[in-house]
């Protein structure tokens, strides 16, 4: 009875520590935790917990919506994926960073979501140049 779907149905909330690096730099593994609630309405820049078709649990950010589907991407990732709202378990309403609790409704946090999302092209270029640099160094070395 420890799966998030059952807990959120039973208690109305789910809380969990962060696993993985896909929500860096906002949420770090082994440091931060999130608190989620069930919702029927998802908004752009919300962070949601969903279950992939391969059963994997993922916490990523909504970056858009198309034909009633959600376009989702981790803050650290560059790849987006299309998710059906029925796959979503809950939306993050609060999170802790370094033991301090923040609300996902806070204006500054919402602004962070927008700004971070707008840096995707820059991060994509940066990652490309890093790859080129590594390739050149390998060839020269």
């Amino acid at each position: 009875m420890n799966n998030p779907e059952q807990i959120i149905d039973r208690k109305g909330y789910y809380a969990a520590p962060i696993h993985g690096t896909s929500m860096n730099p906002l949420l770090l593994e082994h440091r931060d935790c999130v608190y989620l609630k069930k919702t029927d309405q998802y908004n752009k820049y919300d962070v949601v917990l969903f279950r992939r078709k391969n059963n994997q649990l993922v916490l990523h950010r909504i970056i858009g919506m198309k034909n009633e589907k959600l376009i989702i991407r981790g803050d650290y990732d560059l790849q987006r994926e299309i998710v059906d709202p029925a796959q979503c378990i809950g939306t993050m309403v609060q999170f802790t960073r370094n033991n301090k609790t923040y609300s996902a409704d806070h204006g500054l946090y919402r602004l962070y979501g927008r700004i971070w999302n707008s840096t995707t092209l820059f991060r994509r270029l940066l990652r490309f140049f890093r790859r080129v640099k590594r390739f050149i160094i390998t060839r020269i070395g």
Binding site: N2, I7, K11, P17, H30, T96, N99
Partner: protein, 98 residues
Amino acid sequence: MWPKEEWRSLMKIKEGYAVRKFMDECMVLPVGHMADKKNMIIALSKTGAFIWEKLQQETTFDALLQATLDTFDVAEEIAKADLEEFIQKLRKEGLLCE
């Protein structure tokens, strides 16, 4: 009933668990590398959070009961039963080192 002979045996919360406050509610979650091994949430009442705090240091059932009676306006029998239930829950989840 908590066995009388165990009233003075020492217990403490294991490392790898911490209280996080969400929506004015205290919740125990695995933290650090414990988060890779364990999946659990325990919501703490006001008394539960108080006992959890006391259990950060080695303490005994006797001392916990006394501290509860000194802090909260509660009858001894009720406090004893609630404390016992809480400690058993922590034991069941494997959160206590004794």
